[in-house]
Symmetry: C2
């Protein structure tokens, strides 16, 4: 099936076409560029919600509950679970995750897990591309779930329109969150497992930290939602807060600002990679070796040699 046919099938809701496109994107297949070009006119419609937090706070359960809530509204939902610690990628449908089983056979839900190929344990570079596939496939909401391992928490915020940071009572998470810069990226806080001892303490700690920070939220003060996701408690409240944030994003122009900044970062990263590869090509093409020999011989200096190398890059 051609790329154009695949994209048409995906836009018509074919789970198989969606899976195939994400695989092409993940594998950085030769078709990657034509896939991205074909997706471009279809993208930008999905509302992207990131969920992050330490292992054990209940991210998958909360994600599954959110899928249910958005499905009740009749929205098509995509789920991208990025696991930086997993060596597995690609086909896994997460059907084995207890709560996600409810949705595994629902044709209005696309679920995909990705391993991280990212730098330093962060998100995979293919994550934004996979988001575009789900977006083009007509998902009105895409939930990106990522284990909060250091950098990934901050990175998920750079991908999402709204970022949900999950905590659980008694895990010292509030303090950790403050340390890790999570306060700056959270649009909504969830204290999950709120039926446990210490939930109110966690909420109070968070509230104190929020009131102290000013943060780059441009007037948005992140609300704190108590949930017991395993029993569906508080999920409606969470959806309501997310709706408020979405409305705020749209009314303030913050949505366009965030998405433009995100696209700029993505373009810049791709451009730098391309330039680096061109330098590498020149290296293999002996241009660099020749220049290095000239520097060693005292015939030129490293700056002039670098100029020549850059000129070589620009001539390719």
């Amino acid at each position: 099936m051609s790329v154009a046919d695949l994209v048409t099938a995906a836009a018509d809701g074919s789970p198989r076409a969606v899976a195939r496109l994400i695989s092409l994107v993940e594998d950085a297949a030769p078709e990657l560029r034509s896939v991205m070009a074909a997706l471009a006119p279809l993208s930008g419609r999905a509302r992207i919600v990131g969920l992050t937090g330490s292992p054990g706070v209940g991210k998958s359960t909360t994600t599954a509950a959110l899928v249910g809530a958005f499905r009740t509204r009749g929205l098509r939902v995509g789920v991208l679970a990025v696991d930086p610690s997993s060596p597995f990628s690609g086909g896994a449908l997460l059907g084995d995750r207890v709560r996600m089983q409810d949705h595994a056979l629902d044709p209005g839900v696309f679920i995909r897990s990705m391993a991280s190929r990212g730098h330093l344990g962060g998100l995979s570079w293919a994550t934004p591309q996979a988001l575009r596939v789900l977006d083009a496939a007509g998902c009105e909401v895409v939930l990106v779930e990522t284990v909060g391992v250091g950098q990934a928490e901050v990175e998920v915020a750079s991908l999402a329109d709204s970022t949900v940071v999950l905590l659980a009572p008694g895990m010292g998470d509030a303090i950790q969150a403050a340390k890790a810069g999570i306060l700056e990226v959270a649009d909504v806080f969830v204290v999950n497992k709120a039926d446990r001892d210490g939930a109110d303490n966690t909420v109070r700690d968070l509230r104190n930290m929020i009131s102290q920070g000013d943060g780059p939220h441009g007037g948005w003060r992140p609300p704190i939602v108590k949930t017991v996701a395993a029993r569906g408690e508080g999920i409606d409240d969470l959806v309501e807060r997310l709706d408020e944030h979405w409305a705020w994003l749209a009314s303030t122009g913050e949505l366009a600002r965030r998405r433009t900044a995100r696209a700029a970062a993505e373009i810049e990263a791709i451009a730098l990679t391309a330039l680096r590869e061109r330098l590498g090509d020149l290296h293999q093409g002996t241009a660099l070796d020749t220049l290095a020999a000239s520097v060693v011989a005292g015939e030129t200096d490293p700056y002039a040699a670098a100029d020549a190398l850059v000129a070589g890059v620009t001539r390719i």
Copy 2:
């Protein structure tokens, strides 16, 4: 004084001209490029010896003793002390270091300390440039002393023709050295403070590790020299081993190979920095913002936008 006059004065042995040139290089002054161009024909003659090791092993004392030994032969000697932990840079002449005082007034010795501006605590990017200044000033030997803080140990090896790794008894250094990949970079090992308990154990541990490794030394097996640098003991032996390594470098073609690889890495780093700056210029020039807005609008995809950005870079 013009750059050309400064370089002429430095080549004639003016300590003031040498100091001024290193400052220009360190400060990345606008004259940097013309300085580097003027130095090029004068460089490549100095023999560069790196010394590294943990704090407290006696690097400065050993360096000072080596300066004395090379001065006895009538050689002009440069010393570059790179301290990644120091916020100070520039003028400090290290005259306050006890052993170095002997040489502070010797017109045949240039001593300079540099703080690190390097990435992640490594060597300053200006270090290779400063080496070129000392080289052009007629130093026949340049000793580069760097505190062994992680990456710096490996980096000094990439700058030097011969790398000396210092250890002291009872510091667990041999094991640390093995962990840090020091075995791969050491051309000569020094067990300093060899009059202390445990020196023979350290030598034995090292010998075992050397015999197990094969290393990328192309036939050179790093010797182990016992010294008590504070009393000058073992320094003649160390100089002899360094002479043997120097002869080996020259006879095997390894010297040219190392220097060419070093120049290539330097050129590539400068070229990448230049390309990155050009991308930054485009960013400020709104080209990137415009492209990002097109991606958000679905008019183009990030790869095509990156192509446009790279094309923009190459047109500058």
